[in-house]
Amino acid sequence: MLAVIAWVCVGAWLFPPPTPVMDNPAVFRIIYFHFPMAITTVVAFGTGLYFSIRYLSTRNLKYDTRAALSARLGIIFCVLATVSGSIFAKQTWGSYWNWDPRETSIFMLLLVYAAYFALRSALADPDQKANLSAVYSMFGFVATIFFIFIMPRIMPGLHPGAPKPTGGSEGSIITFSLETASVLIPSALAHIGLFYWINKLAFDIDDAKKELSNG
C-alpha cells in the first residue's frame, strides 16, 4: 500500500491534469484524492451496514461497536471528500459552495450520519442503543445510495454525470484517459485499503480496551 499511494502522489503530479481548464489547471489534480475519498465514504457506510446486520442477526454488541467505528471513519472520509471538493469547486465553478445536487446530497448525508451519532449518544441502555442504531444504519445506507448514486444523476447540476439543464445528455457520461485511470483506479483501491486498515486497527484497539476493563 505504501508503494501504491506513493505512486498516486507521484502519478498525480506526473500526468497532466484530467481537465485542463480555468486559471489554475494544477488544482484539477485534487480529483485523484477527492473521488477516491467519496467512494471510500460509500464503502465505509456499507461496512457499517454490514456490521449492523451482523449485530441484528447475532445480538453481539461487538458488532454494534464495529458498525459505529465504520460509520465514524465514513464521516471522516465524507468530510475530507467535501473539503477537497469545495477547494476543487472554488477553482472550477468560482465558489466554495454552489448547492449543486451532489454538494447538497453530501451535506444531507453528513446530516444523516450526524443524526446516527446523536441517536447513539442519546441512549444509555447498550442493547436499546445497538438495536435502534442498527435499524437506523440500514435506513442511513439506503439514504447513502440515494444521495450518492441517484439524486445527482436525475437533477441537473455542475458535476459530471448530471443531466444538463437543457435536457441533453452531454457530459452525463464520465470518461477518463488511460493516464488518468492509471492513477485514479489505484488511488480508489488504496483509499479503500487504507479505510480497512484503519478500521481494523480501531476494532483491535476497542477489543484491547474491553479486555483491560474486564481485567
Binding site: 498525480a12 503530479w13 484503519i198 479486555e211
Partner: protein, 35 residues
C-alpha cells in the same frame, strides 16, 4: 508536470501517516500477543 511542492507534501504526509499506522499496528499486535 507542475510544481513539485504539492507532490512532496503529499508524499511526506503519506509516509508520516503510514509510519504512524505501522507503529500502531505493531503495538496492537504486541498487546494481542500478551492476552
Amino acid at each position: 508536470m507542475g510544481n513539485y511542492i504539492p507532490m512532496i507534501v503529499a508524499l511526506l504526509g503519506w509516509v508520516a501517516l503510514w509510519s504512524y499506522l505501522i507503529s500502531l499496528d505493531s503495538k496492537v499486535k504486541r498487546i494481542k500477543k500478551h492476552e
